[in-house]
Amino acid sequence: MPTTARPRTAVLAFQFLGCAYQPPAGDQTWAGQLHVVARPAAALRHAARPARLCLSATSTLRNTRQISTNGAAAAAEPYDDGTDHARFPPLEQLPPSVAGYPSPLPERALKSAKLAALHARLSLPAKLPLQTLARTLVDASADEHPNFNNSNLAFVGHTLINYHMAEYLMCRFPRLPMTVMYAAMEAYAGKKSLFNVARSWGVDAAAAPGGEVDPGLLQFVFDKPGVAMVRFGYKRTEEAYLEKYKWRRGISSRIMYDDDFGDLITKSEGIDTEAGSESDHMSYGNINTEAIAERAHANHVRAVVGAVYVHCGREAVQSFIKAHILSRTLNFESLFKFKNPIRELALLCAREEFEHPVARLLSETGRASRTPVYVVGIYSGSDKLGEGAGSSLVTARYKAVMNTLKAWYLYSPKEHVRVPSDMLIEGAKPWEPVYVDIGEIIAN
């Protein structure tokens, strides 16, 4: 049997060069990354920042590393493992100083196979360059410099997503109460939903960020949240008392002060930085790490939307949001939680000048048995407004009333409504006014 060299990954010429070994997500044992993280590198990173662009121009002249992944051993002699380098050339030649950067250099984006594959997978327009796509993958916790992380793009994307989401919901369901509207907004465009979108795009996270990481991996760290201003809203002065004394936040003040989902603006965005700074932040899979991962993935999706807008314009971003976010499915009926539905229905009928609602037993079976079923209908005069079934007369009446209220609140003109931003397309038909409801039955 002939002797063969130990297996090494090689890349064909037609491919991009950036297929260097990357640890699978969650692999914390990878020595090169850990050395880079453990290094007291903050001073070096900030000092190296201004020289970044000029350094990249001369990078080809510097000594190249033998293997791209031994970031820690850059200064030491390359380890000779018996590989025939003429036969298996080094995968990606990186200057040794590259490990000093908090995120990959922009020009490396052109050589990343992962990034090119992501670009093609999302069917992004060719106008959107790979460098911008690489920047959307750098979270503010990985690279604090706003010129190199995605926080600016994420802010643009956040406003665009929420604008299109809000106008769609208002035209499609004009009678939604504001609390349910907030919940629906969050169900579509909130952190958890966008996290799922990023996962469905096949975006993987790097074990730890750094200059030598493949630019096609999402880069964020668990131990510091980073400063990323990606939300609208005001920080309330009485924030401390809201929790302590259980002060009520009315809907009007939520609209005025709080963020797009009616949530309180806090400094840490729901991430407990105090607990995170203790030793338990390294334990993987707690609530904090989950929140940080969700935020990083969501900001990546927002940044991609922002990048599509910046490079391709309004119509492209509208169809992108429609394809990836608005097209998701949500059961609106599951969002409602009624406290006193009977009173609410009575007030609704009084306001709309319907006759007072009356519950009538439509059918029943097994009254004396263990499993009775009653079907109750709600009538206003001779009009049947709704019905519900339950195992007791009271339950059935409540269900019928709640179904009636849901039928009112979930009124929809039609499935494919025109929204105001459709008017921005050239040659659009004249605007027909949409249905605007007079407001909620009982104001909060």
């Binding site: 002939p2 063969t4 060299a5 297996p7 090494r8 990954t9 090689a10 890349v11 064909l12 037609f14 491919q15 297929c19 196979a113 090119a116 594959a117 670009h119 093609a120 997978r121 999302l122 069917s123 109460p177 609390t179 349910v180 907030y182 919940a183 629906a184 969050e186 169900a187 579509y188 909130g190 939903s193 799922n196 469905s200 795009w201 096949g202 096609g216 394809a323 990836h324 097209s327 998701r328 499915t329 949500l330 059961n331 599951s334 969002l335 409602f336 939680k337 406290k339 006193n340 539905p341 009173r343 609410e344 059918s363 079976t365 079907v375 079934a389 609140y409 909620e440 039955i441 909060n444």
Partner: protein
């Protein structure tokens, strides 16, 4: 406050809106000594460049696996993997296997007994014994 809201998360269905190819990476292993890799070496030389260019959504890596049979491994968005041993196969047979990996969803193989599986509510509604005129016995 009468109506309050419950938190929910919307669900995405691939293909409603945008379609994302589920195969995100394909590993191609060969041996340049062993005879079982003869077809694979021909595949890498002649067919793979065209196949890779036609499927830019997939990241291809080619690496030797000396003294082993040639292998195709697909990596999928749901975290799954699918490996096919392509020993002694002709290049065009290997292309078929690569297309199989490309088109797979990464889910475990399971028997599909119902033709339609949907999260949408039925348009006609569920039959109820409490409605209608009933049936004379």
């Amino acid at each position: 406050m009468t109506v309050s809201a419950l938190k929910a998360v919307s669900t995405g269905r691939n293909g409603v809106g945008a379609f994302i190819l589920q195969c995100k990476k394909m590993d191609i292993h060969y041996c340049d000594w062993a005879g079982s890799s003869k077809g694979m070496n021909g595949f890498i030389k002649s067919i793979l460049p065209k196949f890779a260019a036609a499927n830019p959504q997939i990241e291809f890596t080619v690496s030797p696996r000396p003294t082993k049979h040639p292998l195709l491994v697909g990596h999928y968005i749901n975290g799954g993997q699918k490996a096919v041993c392509v020993r002694n196969m002709e290049p065009l047979q290997i292309l078929k296997k690569a297309e199989l990996l490309r088109d797979a969803s990464g889910e475990k193989l399971k028997k599909v007994s119902k033709p339609v599986h949907s999260i949408n509510q039925s348009v006609r509604g569920v039959w109820s014994p409490y409605h209608g005129n009933g049936m004379a016995v």
